[in-house]
Amino acid sequence: MLYALKIATRYLMASASQTALLVTGVAVGVFIFIFMSALIGGLAEFIMARTVGDMAHITIDAEPTDPPLLLPRAPGRILLVQQKTDQRSNVLPDAAAFIPTIEAIPGVLVTSQEITGSGFLIRGKLVQQVSVTGVEPGKVSAIVRIGSYIVEGRPDLAAGTVLLGKTLADNMKLAVGQTVRLQASTGIDAALTVAGIFKIGSGGQDRRQAYVSLATARTLFAMPQAISQIEIRLADLYAADATAARIEATTGLHATPWTEQAAQLLAALKAQAQTGLLLKSFALVTIVIGIASAMLLSTFRRRPEIGIMRAMGAKRSFVLLVFIAQGAIVGLLGGVSGAAIGYLVLSRFPGPGALQPGGLPIDVAQGAFGLAILLTTIGAILASILPARSAARVDPATAIGQ
């Protein structure tokens, strides 16, 4: 084993430039593999952060109720087609009582009781339609990370204050500290002080969202006891389906996991991951073909030497080992150097969390460096098996006679 390894390294060093070229080729393949892993992983992370990041993982709201059917008592058969209604009552009467139970379920990070509704912001002659969300004052950033989007003021919701989207505030010519009248769809209105202005950047939230404290919302929407919904964040967002089912089972409330609303997003992410897998497989196949052809060439070139070694008493298994070891060394060297270059290059990217516009959301932590080295070495060994077998089968009599 050791001796075969010595012969293998000597062979590789004897044609140093050829070996260097081969190792470089393998390294490039490994780099592509790592780059794809980091890019696909980072892209998924980026998309998830941009979408699911500001989304409740589970939403508990009132169950949609289909209107009761009033069928005529008539002879014969009735074919009934009823479309499920999207209309749901905005009120969860006694859900708040379940909060301790829900928070005790493993994986639940935080719950947020909310009252949602619509209304108008009125300031002199300026009027804008708004979506109003009332949240508990301590949980302003529990679901949507408002705190990180604040561009003016503070993300604090004391009684009698409001947080507004940037576009909305601009349209209303409002700055922090100024007062505005909010008239809810119930007809009730309140004078509120602008405590902060946020800019999320995507979706329509900047244009029409207003956050008030839960207490203010209770007044505005005349809901002294009930709430509209409970939003939940989980430790693991992929546990949403199971946890939602568990919440439904323990509380009897209607819980919707984010995956139900984001089926398309999930499908897109899956397709993206599969594309990445395909490209990575191509990179591996290229490595295997490259090593196999180089090894095949090497066994042809060394036929007379193989013949001599066999004449001197080298077993077939020894010749096999010499050539497989060459492939393994090339794979390992190419794998390690490709991974090292990959790490150096990918580390210079800011990462999906701090992405600049037009940049690639590359996550170096998802580079799969160990896997790349392992797969490359295994691939290299597999690639050399066929050439090595043909080397081991060289007939010494004809090889030496050549």
Binding site: Y3, R10, G307, A311, M312, G313, F318, A397, I400, G401
Partner: protein, 226 residues
């Protein structure tokens, strides 16, 4: 140091089939005693290399019997023959003789290292000793690619002797050498034969080289003729 080393009987070797069939050996019989120093002569194409290849167990005859050191060489499989060659037969070829990417010493100790799985200190000591005996004291750690033709053949002889084989088969070992180098190589072979009793069978076209051997074996028409 005397006694039968090997015996072949009714050795037949035929290459190809149909129109292109070549009958090279047609029932050849040969006995070699231990300690012999023999020259193998015969015109080009008479089958000298073919016979040496069969005796070296690198090729099987079409038919016939071959026993060496009391063991049957015809029925043995590749793995058995590989071990047998390693222990009992040394080779010197005319071309493609050494491993070009290794030093003289590495080439010489190959037969021992490949059996033991590594290059031991004792193998290196023996290899150096033979190389010194071959007059290559200052070429021990030289890459063989940089040696002259005569030096290469002396390294090849040294390697053939490494495992102290009973038989050394040499196919035109001096074919590429000038007269002085050829005589030097033959003198070394004669010396080893005298001192260690190693049996040599050396094919050659050169009658002067053949004359330095105690026995001359001549192949003609697929048999021994002299």
């Amino acid at each position: 140091m005397s006694g039968l080393l090997l015996e072949v009987r009714d050795l037949v070797k035929t290459f190809g089939a149909g129109e292109t069939t070549t009958h090279v050996l047609r029932g050849l019989n040969l006995r070699l005693e231990k300690g012999e120093l023999s020259a193998l002569l015969g015109p080009s194409g008479s089958g000298k290399s073919t016979l040496l290849t069969i005796l070296g167990t690198l090729m099987k005859p079409t038919s016939g019997r071959y026993e060496m050191l009391g063991a049957d060489m015809i029925g043995a499989d590749d793995a058995e023959l590989t071990v047998f060659r390693n222990l009992h037969i040394g080779f010197v070829f005319q071309f493609h003789n050494l491993l070009p990417d290794f030093t003289a010493l590495e080439n010489v100790i190959f037969p021992t290292a490949v059996r033991e799985g590594r290059e031991t200190a004792s193998a290196r000591a023996r290899g150096t000793e033979i190389l010194v005996r071959m007059g290559l004291v200052d070429r021990v750690d030289f890459p063989v690619a940089k040696l002259s033709g005569g030096q290469k053949q002396r390294v090849a002889v040294a390697r053939a002797l490494m495992n102290r084989p009973e038989l050394v088969l040499a196919d035109e070992p001096t074919g590429n050498l000038d007269r002085a180098s050829a005589i030097q190589v033959m003198d070394l072979i004669a010396e080893i034969n005298r001192d260690e009793g190693t049996t040599f069978l050396i094919s050659t076209h050169d009658d002067k080289i053949a004359a330095t051997c105690r026995r001359q074996i001549v192949v003609g028409d697929g048999r021994l003729t002299g």
